[in-house]
């Protein structure tokens, strides 16, 4: 298990499991990781960003916001082969079908992700509920998940699209991360969250200049490049400050978590007819959402050989629900838009005990018509309050 339940705190509050690193130490830290693991970190790609394998610290783009593409694609790639098949033919007759299950790319493990944002890290816990549940265990997903450690970077400066505090997370949220790196002003604090995280850092202390355990900082020695000595208490206070400052930028005002109760009776509400209207029916929101996970399974074959692939799909597309008969149970954009909202904020809660949104804001940033999920939720909340008043 690698959910919150598996969180294995080595420290608890205080200095245990916490290290301090000078800002200059970052490149050495990254290179130290890269020397020992296959590291995925945010890289720039023609004005967009994504997690990709890096071979030196110089390639890493220290994130200021979430990456354009979500972390989920390292676990649920846009397309992956599930199995390969070959139909034997002899003398024009169709013979046996040979089926070869595909490896989920386990040979590439273990991997370390550096630079995930807390919202992305948290999204993995939600995906776990789907692909690693008691009902269903997805071999490919689980292999990738087991083989990947997550080092997050806390968000000292949340962006205008962020609302993680309304979805159960926060800019310094540790859920889903093995290690979290926090910018507390002049230095980074690096906190070990899980045992796996401790293992990641084990080989780096004493190797990376300017990186040491907070417990060894008791005398307040200055780090290289650092003029002032830093006492552990001061550093922990600086951390609290940074966290409070960041949280203050995004007060938890979006009615995201509590709304499932209200949504229960709103399936047929007339407000959907107004809310959906500007939606174009693309999948920019769903594909870039770190928690959206709908997929399609199809065969790609040439002659007698082929493979079965699983690829991203989205409830915003008419094809997603089109029956072979021609009937479509979600015939219009209204029904499809409602599905996305209801799935995230009502059905997912009913089925998995949480909402399927981490407040990363990617859908807000990327919607061509500025469909802002925050205002959609606010509207739904207001509408339900209004109808509650009139009943």
């Amino acid at each position: 298990m690698h959910g919150t339940a598996g969180l294995d705190r080595t420290g608890g509050p205080g200095v245990a499991g916490v290290s301090v690193m000078s800002k200059e130490g970052l490149a050495g830290f990254l290179n130290g990781l890269i020397a020992r693991f296959r590291v995925f970190a945010p890289v720039q790609e023609a004005g967009t960003t994504r997690f990709a394998p890096v071979s030196s610290a110089g390639e890493v783009m220290m994130p200021t916001t979430v990456t354009s593409r979500p972390l989920k694609e390292l676990f649920l790639p846009p397309s992956e082969t599930l199995l390969e098949f070959e139909v034997e033919t002899s003398g024009g007759m169709v013979g046996e079908v040979k089926v070869e299950p595909a490896e989920p790319g386990v040979g590439d493990m273990p991997r370390v992700v550096f630079g995930a944002r807390p919202c992305d890290a948290r999204s993995l816990l939600l995906l776990d509920k789907v692909f690693d549940s008691t009902d269903y265990k997805d071999g490919h997903y689980i292999a990738r998940r087991r083989g990947t450690a997550i080092i997050s970077v806390a968000c000292s400066e949340p962006a205008e699209i962020c609302f993680c505090t309304s979805t159960g997370g926060g800019p310094f949220d540790e859920a889903g991360s093995d290690v979290i790196l926090e910018d507390v002003g002049d230095v980074y604090l690096i906190k070990v969250i899980t045992e796996r995280g401790a293992g990641l850092l084990a080989g780096l202390e004493g190797v990376v200049p300017g990186f040491r355990r907070l417990s060894e900082q008791a005398e307040g020695d200055a780090l290289p490049g650092q003029l002032l000595p830093l006492l552990p208490e001061q550093l922990l206070a600086a951390e609290r400050n940074a966290k409070e400052r960041a949280e203050a930028v995004i007060p938890a005002l979006v009615p995201a978590r509590g709304i499932h109760e209200k949504l229960k009776g709103m399936f047929e509400h007339e407000c959907w007819g107004e809310l959906y209207r500007k939606c174009l029916g693309c999948a920019a929101c769903a594909y870039l959402c770190p928690t959206c996970h709908c997929f399609d399974i199809a065969d790609e074959a040439v002659d007698n050989k082929g493979r079965r692939v699983r690829c991203w799909d989205a409830c915003m597309f008419p094809m997603f629900t089109l029956h072979a008969s021609g009937h479509n149970p979600r015939p219009g954009r209204k029904e499809r838009f409602r599905q996305r909202v209801m799935h995230k904020f009502s059905y997912f809660m009913e089925n998995n005990g949480d909402i399927a949104c981490v407040g990363c804001g990617r859908c807000i940033e990327n919607c061509p018509v500025n469909m802002d999920i925050r205002s959609v939720l606010a509207s739904l909340d207001a509408v339900s309050a209004a109808s509650a008043g009139t009943v």
């Binding site: 694609e73 390292l74 790639p77 397309s79 992956e80 082969t81 390969e84 595909a102 490896e103 790319g105 590439d108 990738r144 790609e300 040439v302 050989k305 082929g306 493979r307």
Partner: protein, 154 residues
């Protein structure tokens, strides 16, 4: 990739031939015993106007080294204007795929009438020579990507 008996690459060319003219032209070339390269796979279509640009792209995707579309001469289309309409589409398509970076000459067009057995053979010779010069198709080819093995890269 198609190899001949000597183990050398042989171009594979898909030819969409209009039923009313070029297809009959090919027939005539055959019955007149005019020699032309055996590299074309003929697909008979009712009119050059039927050839959707997507069909041409699909051929390239599926590994054709060259594609030829051949219809009736201007004014001779069985459906009056099918070839005129096709001409516009093909002019735009040809420029577009070459602009993309697909080699000039992979996709070609011709007018061959039912009486032009000789011309049909010449067209096939020209197209085959050109495609042979270009070598095996690589761009837009998906089949090879598929044969190249499975698995997501991540």
């Amino acid at each position: 990739m198609k190899m001949n008996q000597e183990g050398e690459w042989e171009p594979k060319i898909v030819a969409f031939l209009c039923n009313w003219c070029s297809y009959a032209g090919a027939d005539l070339a055959g019955t007149s015993r005019i020699q032309y390269p055996p590299n074309v796979r003929v697909i008979r279509v009712p009119c050059s106007g039927r050839v959707d640009p997507l069909l041409i792209l699909k051929c390239l995707q599926r590994g054709a080294d060259g594609v030829l579309v051949s219809g009736c001469h201007p004014g001779d289309c069985h459906y009056i204007a099918g070839n005129y309409l096709a001409r516009r589409k093909f002019a735009m398509l040809k420029r577009l795929i070459e602009y993309l970076g697909v080699e000039e000459g992979r996709v070609q067009f011709s007018w061959v009438s039912a009486a032009e057995g000789e011309k049909f053979a010449d067209v096939i010779k020209t197209v085959t020579r050109r495609v042979r010069e270009l070598g095996p198709a690589r761009k837009l080819v998906k089949v090879r990507e598929m044969q190249g093995g499975a698995g997501a890269s991540l």
